[in-house]
Symmetry: C2
Subunit: 218 residues, 2 copies
DNA sequence: TAAAATTGTTAGGTTAGTCTAATTGTTATA
DNA sequence: TATAACAATTAGACTAACCTAACAATTTTA
């Protein structure tokens, strides 16, 4: 049985290696920063996770999930996204509120609970943020999405998900009347700082490059 | 913010003091046995809970919950019973499966979650075991329990607690494979000395009246 | 390619929650 | 009421997860 902390390390590794296509490794500092701990702490845990055969790792080397480790991590991701869906669809939580509570709920362990919840929700395929929910077999449709910042000037697209899940970001997104499936047109760009003018349901607004890098589109 | 462990101690104290009418105090050994830890461990935690003003307690004395402590404990009980109801009514769990999962879910902290869950379930008053669910104000209808000796011959019940907390008695109870939530059927009685035959998970055994008077049931 | 910057590890310390063994209070009983 | 039985506490140790400070390895860059 894994501890909450061990689960969080595995989840972090999955996240870090899923972010970019073909990326399968992460570094100690990167992992530590993501989890909000010191690198020394991460090193200790990495030894433990290696001991348990959940990761591949050599001293001073890069880290990657083993098959077992990846399966565990995907299972946690599945729980996280199912709970988010539950909170959003059944309990009237808003978009930006679900993540924090799901961070706690994802650690409840009961295989029956997960399956029954999945059934109760009608076997959803995506969570409220547009991210794919891994199925009961642990299969996760990997969709490497482009970000708004990669869209050509003049082109149109549709928001499908967000990369950043912090409440601050999500609230900003909501404020702009942006949500899953909202059409976006890139009107113009500033070469100076990468900021861009975008059109959302008729209104033109200006957003930073940082913002655009966290909006995933199709 | 209380840790899971601190919450479990408060919940245990509420349980122990709710068991019997007018009982408001518990002992260190009793508490430790209930939680499955050693008395020394309980002593450490009692100091901490006293420091935080969650209990009334003096060295070598009895323990009782402070108002704050009781409120916290009732809130946990509320969450526990609401989750049990959710699992039973919405996710098709059986009555004997809900407890274990609710033990985990009761520690999720999000006031909004509790209120929304309560609303989603239609503000239920009792959980799947027939126990009262405290309302949002923390009001709990007290129901006092009967002893095994009061159960009619032929009837079935479920052990919910013990009245006697001596090691000898508790060891005897364990030996019989009796524990919290164990179903018991009263098969027959001797008018001569009040001893009774009871059935526990298929096996029929004979117990004295004294024994039966110390098993609390529902 | 040597020095500087970065990345990662080790050593030693802290806290929460647990344990065992020894000891001290309290209660019951002979 | 003295003592045996029981209940509770203290002392000292362990593990998991974290920290800081010092050091070692690797990578970058001048």
């Amino acid at each position: 049985m894994l501890s909450f902390t061990e689960e969080n390390y595995l989840k972090a590794l999955l996240h870090l290696t899923m972010e970019i296509e073909d990326k399968v490794e992460a570094g100690t500092n990167e992992l530590a920063f993501y989890l909000g701990v010191k690198p020394a702490t991460a090193t200790d845990m990495l030894k433990k996770l290696k001991e348990k055969k959940l990761i591949q790792y050599e001293k001073y080397g890069k880290i990657s999930l083993s098959d077992t480790g990846r399966n565990k991590a995907v299972e946690i991701l599945r729980k996280h996204r199912l709970w988010e869906t539950f909170l959003y669809e059944k309990l009237e939580f808003t978009w930006d509120e679900v993540h924090e509570v799901a961070e706690q709920l994802e650690h409840i362990h009961s295989p029956k609970l997960v399956d029954k919840l999945d059934k109760f929700l009608g076997y959803p395929e995506v969570d409220p943020h547009g991210d794919c929910i891994p199925n009961a077999k642990g299969e996760l449709k990997q969709s490497f999405k482009k970000t708004l910042s990669e869209v050509e000037t003049g082109a149109s697209c549709k928001m499908v998900a967000v990369k950043d899940n912090t409440a601050a970001f999500l609230q900003y997104v909501s404020q702009l009347n942006l949500g899953i499936d909202t059409p976006i047109k890139v009107v113009s760009r500033q070469a100076y700082d990468g900021s861009m003018e975008i059109m959302i349901s008729g209104a033109t607004i200006n957003v930073s490059q940082k913002f655009a890098e966290n909006i995933l589109i199709v």
